[in-house]
């Protein structure tokens, strides 16, 4: 059973169509909800939390309609993009309180609060007022409050927003740990493709309220039939020799690419490099990137719109 399921989900705000009949499912693991600003990511999260009513379609959480009962939210965690922490309260007190509001008894809530703060690396600082925390520490508390009641799935809206490169890497590693060791499925709403490539198993790509693609991240970054060759010396000679054998390499500095290569082309390339005396630095099939999804699928959508 999918943890989250959007079926023909449509939501408009005035004349703006935030979501336009999207269908997708989110299973266990870490999933990236990827899209630019206004793609419909935050609207999707709010629909799954039952905070918005869809114009049509359904948003299902753990097999139930998200609006059916607030009790559905007992097994969901949520960390919004914006600041949401009270200033003059300690992280330990706040998390224990949030755990109780989420349905944990008092004693269990206190224990869970300390435990989760330890896991996110804030055990020593847990009794300090949160107004004294750095941005990175606040992001960790936001994550901790989303996990304190041990949800089945946690929805994190832009969890790396405002973090420096080191803080961003640590947060993504923490999210990988939550999704792996903790066994809590995660949905990251983000516009950063790097975050998805680094942390997620699957991705749902939204663009202007429409579903662009969804599936495993590995499927988006699979090998292509283009070969990338990097030569330290003798690149011009190699290019000339390849052209002499009927191939059409493209040269960009010391890096050349060969498109639509077959098995024989590998042998030809090997022979040419050996014969020319060029120094081979790297040879590998090129991989797709998530960025290609936007350029490729975006171009297709533009063509379809023009045709219609």
């Amino acid at each position: 059973m999918a943890l989250l399921r959007a079926h023909e989900l449509t939501k408009t705000f005035g004349s703006v169509r935030a979501l336009d009949g999207v269908d997708f499912e989110i299973d266990e693991g870490i999933t990236g909800l990827l899209g630019s600003n206004g793609a419909g990511k935050s609207t999707s999260l709010k629909l799954f939390l039952g905070l918005l009513d869809p114009d049509s379609g359904t948003a299902e959480v753990l097999g139930q309609d998200a609006r059916s009962s607030p009790d559905v939210r007992a097994r969901i965690g949520y960390a919004p993009e914006h600041d949401c922490l009270p200033r003059n309260v300690s992280a330990a007190e706040f998390l224990a309180y949030m755990a109780q509001v989420s349905g944990l008894p008092r004693t269990a809530a206190r224990l869970r609060a300390s435990d989760v703060l330890r896991h996110v690396g804030l055990f020593e600082e847990r009794y300090r007022p949160m107004e004294t925390y750095s941005t990175g520490m606040k992001q960790r508390v936001k994550l901790a409050q989303a996990l304190v009641h041990d949800p089945v799935i946690a929805l994190l809206d832009e969890p790396t927003a405002g973090l420096d490169p080191l803080g961003r890497r640590e947060m993504l590693e923490l999210i990988r740990r939550v999704g792996g060791e903790f066994g809590i499925s995660i949905v990251i709403s983000t516009h950063l493709m790097g975050d998805v490539e680094r942390a997620c198993d699957s991705v749902v790509v939204l663009d202007a309220g429409r579903l662009l693609r969804s599936g495993p991240v590995s499927g988006f970054t699979e090998e292509t039939e283009t070969l990338e060759v990097e030569l330290l010396d003798g690149a011009d000679a190699v290019v000339a020799a390849l052209r002499g054998r009927g191939l059409e390499p493209k040269l960009d500095g010391r890096r050349l690419t060969l498109e639509d290569v077959s098995g024989e082309d590998y042998d030809t390339l090997r022979d040419v490099i050996v014969d020319s005396g060029a120094v081979l630095y790297r040879l590998a099939p090129a991989r797709h990137s998530l960025a290609d999804v936007f350029t490729r699928d975006g171009a297709e959508a533009t063509r379809e719109e023009a045709a219609s």
Binding site: A74, C84, V101, G103, D115, E181, G183
Partner: protein, 292 residues
């Protein structure tokens, strides 16, 4: 006995598979948090000054009066020293209680708004009504206790001071439900009004000033209508003076006869109706705030 070097074990992440509470327990958590905020419990000294000072202003005068009555009363002429009536003391206590509502009630909502914590409540297994209902109940609880305590002190003294406490209780038992009802009326009106006003402000100071403005401007308009005009319209306008309306309603509850243009019963009905409207507005407003 020998002991080896201490070791720290990383137990790893442990999920929670214990009991999960229902909606009432979750509401109860918000209610307890509201009580703590209202009284400044678990906060610094600064957070305790205003609530405890104002609550003391409502309670301490009655305690002092009873102590004076206990030690000085027997030696003086009964005509020279008389304890206030139940209704009269409510008339006095209403001032510190209204100030308490204006100063402290915003703490229950304004920080949640300004720090944007409401979005986290929205994602919890509760509704906006659960949130505001629990907040309302917590503040009303504190106000009820502050309203009833001095009246309970007065009633207890009157029982102990009577020549026959048993017969006093038999003859005056109805005072208890009356002072409970009068205190409840004051607490419910002030709580609902103060939280509604607070729901429109993100800063506590603005909410406090707005609440005081509603009370004082209403009193001024009501006073002008009562002093300078007559007739049904003037009587109706005079009801916007909430402290006066509450005082009239309290005296009506105690059965005191007052020469007022609007009867205490009408004032009580007006306050009940007004509170229902304000409560509905508060729920609607909070629903919008919580759902963002």
């Amino acid at each position: 006995m020998s002991s080896g070097p201490a070791e720290v074990f990383d137990l790893g992440y442990r999920g929670y598979d214990g009991e999960r509470t229902g909606r009432w327990a979750r509401r109860n958590a918000i209610w307890r948090d509201g009580i703590r905020i209202s009284l400044g419990l678990g906060r610094g000294v600064g957070a305790k000054v205003a609530p405890w000072l104002l609550l003391a202003l409502a309670l301490v005068p009655m305690v002092v009066l009873v102590v004076v009555a206990a030690f000085v009363g027997p030696a003086t002429n009964p005509d020279d020293f008389e304890l206030p009536s139940y209704g009269d003391y409510y008339g006095y206590a209403m001032v510190p209680l209204a100030l308490f509502a204006a100063v402290v009630a915003p703490l229950l909502i304004c920080p949640d708004r300004s720090d944007r914590v409401l979005s986290l409540y929205a994602a919890r297994p509760i509704t906006a009504l659960d949130y505001v209902g629990a907040r309302w109940a917590s503040f009303a609880t504190v106000l009820l206790a502050a309203s009833w305590a001095p009246e309970a002190v007065l009633f207890t003294w009157n029982v102990l001071d009577a020549k026959s406490p048993g017969s006093f209780l038999r003859d005056n038992w109805d005072v208890v439900p009356r002072f409970l009802a009068a205190g409840a009326l004051i607490a419910v009106v002030l709580t609902t009004l103060a939280l509604l006003v607070a729901s429109f402000a993100t800063r506590r100071a603005y909410a406090s000033v707005a609440m005081l403005a509603v009370i004082f401007i209403g009193s001024a308009i009501g006073g002008i209508a009562e002093e300078n005009f007559s007739g049904g319209a003037a009587d109706a306008v005079s009801l916007v003076g909430l402290p006066q309306a509450m005082t009239d309603a309290v005296h009506w509850i105690f059965g005191d006869e007052l020469d007022r243009p609007v009867s205490g019963g009408v004032s009580a009905l007006w306050l009940v109706g007004l509170t229902i409207v304000l409560a509905a507005w508060l729920v609607r407003r909070t629903n919008r705030l919580v759902r963002g």
